[in-house]
C-alpha cells in the first residue's frame, strides 16, 4: 500500500507537484456528491483555488517537521501525504479515515508526515505550532513548525500573542497566511483595516514576505527561505500567500457576497493551470500527458471513493478509546 511518507516523496518533481494539485482538486470536487448521497455530515471547507499553497509547503518541509492547519485542511493533508482514502474516509466517518472516522473533515491528522489534528477553532493552531518549535529548540534539533491559517484569523488574539512570543523566543516556526480575501462571508476590507497582512509582522520585528499564492514555485521559494532562516536559528517568519477560494466558506455557503467578476478573474490564474502551463511551455508535458494525468487521477479518486464506501464506520468501542492515558 502507498504510505503517506512515500506520497510525500512524490512532491520532489514539478510533475509530481502538479499531479498532487490535480488530485487535491479532484478529491475536493468529489465531496459534494458524497454529501448528496448522505455520506458526509457536519460541515466541510474546500480549498479549491488554494492548492498551490499546501503543495508548496509540503514540498519544502521534511516529514519530521510539523504542521498545524485549520478546518480547511483537505489540501494540506493530501499535500503532506495523506491518501485520498485517508481524507475522504475521514470525511465520510469511516475507520480507514486518517483519524479513524473520529474527527471528521475538520480534524484530519497523520503523525507520520507531521500533520497534527487540524484545528477547528480559529487561531488555535498558532500557539501549538509555537510549542512544537519550542520543543525543537529545547531538544536542539533543526525541525521547524509551520502553521497555516486564513486572513480572517489574523484578527484573533492568539495570532498576536503567538507572533510576539515566537519572535522574542526566536522560535523556528513559519506562519503562513492563506489570504483568500474572505473570512466566512465577510470580505477582508470589512474586518481588517489593512490589506497586506504580512505587514503585521512589523509589530513583532519579524521577517515577512508576501507571495503569489497561485504559483507553487513562488510558494516553494518563500517557504524555503523561511525554513532555512528558521533552521539556522534565526527565528520565525510571517508569509502571506495571496490566494482565493473558488467555493463558498463551507458547504452551505453559496458565496453570494462576492464582488461580481472576482471569481472569474481569479480563475484566470488557477494554480493548476499555472503549474501545467509552465511544464508545457518548457516542453516537459504535453496537453495529452496532462489529459492522461487528469483522467488517471479521476480514476484513482473514483477508486478511493469505492474503497471508502466499502469500508466500515469505526467500531462503537472506539468511542471510549484514547480518551486519556488510561483508555
Amino acid at each position: 500500500m502507498v504510505t503517506s511518507l512515500t506520497r510525500r516523496g512524490q512532491l520532489n518533481t514539478e510533475v509530481g507537484r502538479l499531479e498532487r494539485m490535480l488530485e487535491i482538486r479532484a478529491v475536493e470536487e468529489s465531496i459534494q456528491t458524497l454529501y448528496n448521497d448522505g455520506h458526509v455530515r457536519g460541515s466541510t471547507h474546500l480549498a479549491n483555488g488554494q492548492e498551490a499553497v499546501s503543495v508548496g509547503i509540503a514540498s519544502v518541509l521534511r516529514p519530521t517537521d510539523v504542521v498545524t492547519c485549520t478546518y480547511r485542511g483537505h489540501a494540506a493533508a493530501l499535500a503532506l501525504g495523506v491518501t485520498p482514502e485517508g481524507v475522504l474516509g475521514e470525511i465520510c466517518g469511516r475507520v480507514i479515515g486518517c483519524s479513524g472516522g473520529i474527527g471528521g473533515s475538520m480534524h484530519l491528522m497523520d503523525a507520520s508526515v507531521g500533520l497534527m489534528p487540524t484545528f477547528a477553532i480559529v487561531g488555535a493552531g498558532l500557539p501549538v505550532a509555537a510549542g512544537v518549535a519550542l520543543a525543537a529548540k529545547l531538544k536542539n534539533n533543526d525541525s521547524v513548525a509551520l502553521t497555516i491559517f486564513g486572513d480572517g484569523s489574523t484578527n484573533i488574539g492568539a495570532f498576536h500573542e503567538t507572533l510576539n512570543m515566537a519572535s522574542i523566543f526566536k522560535l523556528p516556526v513559519i506562519f503562513v497566511i492563506e489570504n483568500n480575501l474572505y473570512g466566512e462571508y465577510t470580505r477582508i476590507n470589512l474586518s481588517t483595516p489593512i490589506s497586506d497582512l504580512a505587514d503585521r509582522a512589523d509589530s513583532y520585528a519579524m521577517r515577512k514576505e508576501i507571495v503569489d499564492g497561485q504559483d507553487v514555485d513562488a510558494i516553494i521559494n518563500a517557504i524555503q527561505s523561511a525554513v532555512d532562516f528558521a533552521r539556522a536559528g534565526n527565528g520565525p517568519s510571517l508569509i502571506e500567500a495571496k490566494t482565493y477560494r473558488y467555493s463558498g466558506h463551507s458547504r452551505s455557503d453559496p458565496a453570494t457576497y462576492r464582488t461580481p467578476g472576482e471569481l472569474d478573474e481569479w480563475k484566470k490564474r488557477d494554480p493548476l493551470d499555472i503549474a501545467a502551463n509552465k511544464l508545457i511551455l518548457k516542453g516537459e508535458l504535453s496537453e495529452v500527458d496532462l489529459e492522461k494525468m487528469k483522467s488517471d487521477i479521476a480514476d484513482r479518486v473514483a477508486e478511493a471513493i469505492k474503497t471508502v464506501l466499502a469500508s466500515d464506520g469505526p467500531e462503537l468501542s472506539t468511542l471510549m478509546q484514547h480518551v486519556s492515558a488510561k483508555g
Binding site: 458526509v40 455530515r41 474527527g103 480534524h107 477547528a120 469505526p314 472506539t318 468511542l319
Partner: protein, 335 residues
C-alpha cells in the same frame, strides 16, 4: 399562534425585541448574512447595519464590547456562533461582565445576552458539538437557558434580552429545524428561572433540558408501562428548584437526562439537591442518564451512541422501576 421552525423563532424574538426596544442590537461574526444556521436571516435588511453588526473574528473584543455597551445602557445580543468559541474569550463574561454589578455596587449593570449554537448529533466533531454549561456555573451573576422548542426559544430569548444581568442562551443545533406552534408577543414570553411541566405523570419525574426534553418525550411515548412527569428546566442556571421538588415529592422518583458527559454533568446538582431536601421521600435512588465521559466523535453511529437515546432511557427507567436500584450506564463494564 404561528407554526415556525426554531431558527425562525430566534429571528422572530430578536426582531420583536429590537422593534420594541431601540437599545437592543446584535453583534457577531457574519450575523448580517444569517450565520451558518440562518438564525439571524433578514434582520440586517430590516434593522440596518448599526443594529446588526458584523464583527471581525475577535471574540474577546466583541464579547467585551458587549459588556461595555451593556454597562452603558444598551442591550447587546452577542452571538458566539458555536459555544466552544467563547473558550477564547471567557474572561470577559465570567470574570468581567458577571462581576460588574457587584464591584460597582449596582452603579453599572450588564444586560447582555449571549447566543450560541450548542449540542451534538449533527456531525460537527468534538470542537463544535458540546454544551459546555459548566463554564458558566458557580457565577451568581450569570443565567443560562437552553430552549427545547420554537416556543421556548422565542420566549426565553425575549426574556434573556430583557434581563438586567448577562444571560447565555444555548441554541441546540439539532433543534433549529424543528417546527412548532409559537405564541408570539408578550404572551409568548417565558420567564428566566422557570421550568415547564411537559407531561403530568406519577411514576417518575424526568428532568431534562434542550434536546433531552425531546428524548424524554420520545421515551415516554414509546412505552406504556409507566407514566412520567417530564420537567423541561428551560433555565439551567438558576434551575427551578420548586418545580422539581414539587414533582418529585409527588412521583417519588427522579431521573435526569443530560446530553453531556456523566462526570461534571449538571444533573448531579439536581440529584444532590432533591435528595437532600426531600430526604426520605424518594422511593428509588435519583438516577442520571447521560453521555459517556468521552469527547464527541464524528462518525454517525458513534455520535448516535454518544447521545442518550430514547430507547436507552426507556431501558434505564424500566430497570430503575423494576429493581429499585440505579442501573449501570451502558459504558460501565463495557470498557
Amino acid at each position: 399562534m404561528t407554526v415556525m421552525r426554531t431558527r425562525q423563532a430566534v429571528i422572530q424574538a430578536l426582531s420583536d425585541e429590537m422593534e420594541s426596544d431601540p437599545t437592543v442590537f446584535l453583534m457577531g461574526e457574519d450575523i448580517g448574512s444569517g450565520g451558518p444556521f440562518k438564525a439571524t436571516e433578514g434582520l440586517i435588511e430590516k434593522f440596518g447595519d448599526t443594529r446588526v453588526i458584523d464583527t471581525p473574528i475577535s471574540e474577546m473584543a466583541f464579547l467585551g464590547a458587549g459588556v461595555g455597551a451593556a454597562a452603558m445602557g444598551m442591550r447587546p445580543v452577542v452571538e458566539m456562533m458555536f459555544i466552544e468559541f467563547i473558550g477564547v474569550a471567557l474572561d470577559q463574561l465570567t470574570t468581567q461582565g458577571a462581576f460588574f454589578r457587584y464591584l460597582s455596587r449596582g452603579a453599572y449593570q450588564v444586560p447582555l445576552t449571549i447566543r450560541a449554537a450548542a449540542g451534538a448529533g449533527m456531525g460537527f466533531g468534538c470542537q463544535h458539538s458540546q454544551i459546555l454549561d459548566q463554564w458558566f456555573r458557580g457565577n451568581a451573576g450569570i443565567s443560562l437557558v437552553i430552549p427545547s422548542s420554537p416556543q421556548s426559544m422565542y420566549g426565553l430569548l425575549r426574556s434573556a434580552i430583557r434581563s438586567n444581568d448577562p444571560v447565555v442562551i444555548l441554541e441546540h443545533k439539532g433543534l433549529y429545524g424543528e417546527r412548532g406552534d409559537v405564541i408570539t408577543g408578550e404572551a409568548g414570553i417565558i420567564p428566566i428561572g422557570q421550568a415547564r411541566t411537559v407531561t403530568e405523570g406519577s411514576d417518575v419525574t424526568i428532568v431534562a433540558i434542550g434536546s433531552t426534553v425531546l428524548t424524554a418525550k420520545a421515551a415516554l411515548e414509546s412505552q406504556s408501562e409507566w407514566s412520567a412527569e417530564i420537567i423541561d428546566l428551560q433555565t439551567l442556571i438558576p434551575w427551578d428548584k420548586s418545580a422539581v421538588m414539587k414533582s418529585v415529592a409527588k412521583t417519588g422518583r427522579l431521573v435526569v437526562i443530560e446530553e453531556s458527559s456523566y462526570s461534571g454533568g449538571w444533573g448531579a446538582e439536581i440529584c444532590s439537591e432533591v435528595v437532600t431536601k426531600l430526604w426520605g421521600q424518594l422511593k428509588t435512588p435519583p438516577h442520571r442518564i447521560t453521555s459517556p465521559d468521552a469527547p464527541i466523535p464524528y462518525a454517525q453511529e458513534l455520535e448516535k451512541r454518544y447521545l442518550p437515546s430514547s430507547d436507552y432511557v426507556v431501558s434505564q427507567i424500566n430497570e430503575l422501576l423494576k429493581t429499585g436500584k440505579s442501573p449501570a450506564a451502558w459504558w460501565e463494564g463495557a470498557k
